[in-house]
Amino acid sequence: MTKQYMDYLDQLEAEAIYILREVAGQFEKPALLFSGGKDSITLVRLAEKAFRPGKFPFPLVHIDTGHNFPETITFRDQLVEKIGEKLIVGYVQDSIDEGKVVEQTGKNASRNALQTVTLLDTILKNKFDACIGGARRDEEKARAKERIFSIRDEFGQWDPKRQRPELWNIFNGKIQKGENVRVFPISNWTELDVWNYIKRENIDLPSVYFSHEREVIIRNNQLMAAAECLNMDEEDTIYKKKVRFRTVGDMSCTAAIESDAYLLDDIIEEIRTSKISERGARLDDKVSEAAMEDRKKGGYF
């Protein structure tokens, strides 16, 4: 450990850059899964550090549920233009139109589960052999067990009982045809680490992360953006509140928190003292204790 020359953010950064370069060196057709959230935006900065002045050896891939915050999509397009890299978008709407998935109905309908099908389709169509993602081990119990190079079978499934041993910093990316690897360069970062890094590196984020006034409704004791995709009816009361989003997924499954934090320092302080963990604002994990493990086995990020 290099304490004299590197602080903990330097160490995490150097590890992530190392992992990104391993992906570039070991795979024929990698991709960087970009959601427009802070973790994947951080990955883009790390990729710049890993490969500049060269181009990224992979495109950005966004799986668009069609229910994204409009601010996220605008931000995504501006970022892509600024860094001059390629973006591939897979639309959940296309999977619905092609009859590959059926849209859920009712008040708790979400396209979150459907995007797995679109993701696997996009991987297949583009023949991606490795997909870089911004998942972190501190987010959830099943993720805490996942390797940095996580092998998925032909169906995109994660088998927690058959994980390859991962020794030192040696990553075995050898796969059979049809398999692919999910790679998580910021596995060892916590939510707070990501925010501290964003601050240190002066990284731009979509505006929904910062306090703003928004129309919201209350669903399952959580504040949700009052958006069409939530299938609102007369029972839903619309409130105007000062909120921000701690995690930015799709509008149907990402809850807001009431907050006045509109500066990075405020957000960092808010998280430091926060009593609700990050994924607590994600309804998709609350279904059962094993919700994330089950979704990962099915091919989810």
Binding site: E22, A144, S187, I276
Partner: protein
């Protein structure tokens, strides 16, 4: 602030998960909704208190069986340090998972049940920690509450452990009597053991020195990626990207490329928008050399005055990690950092009975077997001995039939 990575070894019966849960709980690293999920769960201790072990058992099968199967990584932070815990299984059938967790740790916590003392499992875990050359060991004598916080019990186990450890190459051993269940000596010093004058576990973890000579001249960097934009603005740019494994590179240092043996010198060190004068162990950098020579992924850049071994015949420790036994008649792949080449296990020297530490003759390696072999590689490897420089002394074996990682190698001697 820096990072301390540590692993916890022990079985569920030793209260390992409870110990981690206690560290997180008492250092206030558990957040409200996790606590809520914890309280909602129907697993409780006999006295009705929350079962802290649930915090670390992440997989369904683990919760069902009440055991740890795979390594779970946990994160917490105090004012002094950021911690990464590798919570590893203690059962012998999951030895390979413990080796995985240990390979990236600076410190190991070995749990001993104060009622049972040093048992077979203690020996096995200690052996694995010494095999992987972890610089620090903390022996936690847990369940002191069950032996009336008796000092004699502590002293007896300490003496037994030290006696056993003579057969091992452990670098630094610290003993701490604790009760994970009750919280004694985990975060706060226990009032139940006034005879113990050492630090609490957290205090020790916060203050233990994790120093390495990061500026040694034994500079090593495997090339991961060559940056060649070939654009109009940068027609001749050629940078070699990688992470410094050990030592320090400085501008103007003489460099040798291995295995080819070409030499040159460093003209520039780049880190995105910075150009530091030196690149030390752990840094991900891009190096520029004075001469245009053929260098690609898998090559290693080293300081010309301090070169590693170059050999195709290496004596190595092997931990076998596959359910299919080692077959000395088929070629495997060896991956040492960015370098991959074919290899064969030329000879099995011995196997270690990891419960008694005896060396035994063997002609087979099965899942979780550990011993000494001689490996022959198709192309020469540039390596250091694991005990001298573990960043450049370890490698993995891959079965090219299945692509699985089947073995961990720790190079012990050049056999050429």
């Amino acid at each position: 602030m820096d990072i301390l990575k540590f692993l916890t070894a022990g079985s569920v019966d030793d209260g390992k998960s409870t110990l981690i849960g206690r560290l997180l709980y008492d250092s206030e690293s558990i957040l409200a909704d996790q606590l809520e999920a914890l309280q909602a769960s129907n697993r409780k201790n006999d006295d009705g208190t929350i079962d802290l072990a649930i915090l670390t058992d992440g997989l369904k099968a683990e919760r069902e069986q009440g055991i740890t199967i795979d390594v779970a990584y946990k994160y917490f932070q105090t004012d002094k340090r950021k911690f990464i815990i590798a919570d590893t299984p203690g059962h012998i059938q999951y030895t390979r998972n413990m080796v995985t967790g240990a390979s990236t740790a600076d410190l190991a916590i070995i749990l001993v049940d104060a009622r049972n003392g040093v048992v077979e499992q203690t020996i096995r875990h200690s052996f694995l920690v010494s095999l992987l050359e972890l610089p620090h060991v903390v022996v936690c004598l847990n369940k002191m509450d069950m032996v009336n916080y008796d000092e004699d019990v502590y002293e007896k186990i300490k003496a037994d452990y030290k006696d056993m450890a003579k057969k091992l190459n452990l670098h630094e051993i610290t003993f701490i009597p604790v009760s994970a269940l009750k919280g004694d000596n985990i975060v706060n010093k226990s009032e139940n053991m006034p005879w113990y004058d050492g630090k609490s576990l957290l205090d020790h973890l916060e203050t233990v020195e994790v120093t390495e000579d990061e500026t040694s001249d034994h500079a090593r960097m495997p090339v991961q990626w060559v940056v060649r934009p070939q654009t109009e603005e940068l027609p001749d740019y050629r940078g070699y990207s990688g992470r410094v494994l050990s030592g320090a590179f400085r501008v103007n240092d003489p460099i040798t490329v291995l295995p080819s043996g070409f030499s040159s010198s460093i003209t520039k060190i780049e880190m995105f928008d910075k150009e530091p004068h030196a690149a030390v162990k752990g840094m991900s950098v891009t190096l520029h050399l004075k001469d245009n020579i053929d260098i690609s992924r898998g090559d290693m850049l080293v300081n010309s005055n301090y070169q590693p071994h170059i050999s195709q015949l290496i004596e190595s420790d092997l931990c076998w990690m596959d359910t299919r036994a080692l077959d000395t008649s088929v070629p495997y792949l060896v991956q040492q950092n960015s370098k991959v080449t074919k290899c064969k296990i030329q000879e099995i020297l011995y196997k270690v009975n990891i419960n008694t530490l005896e060396q035994v003759d063997a002609d087979k390696f099965q899942l979780n077997d550990i011993g000494r072999i001689i490996i022959k590689t198709a192309e020469p490897l540039a390596f250091d001995l694991f005990q001298e420089n573990n960043a450049n002394g370890g490698a993995i074996l891959i079965d090219s039939r299945t692509n699985l990682t089947v073995g961990a190698l720790m190079f012990r001697a050049n056999a050429e």
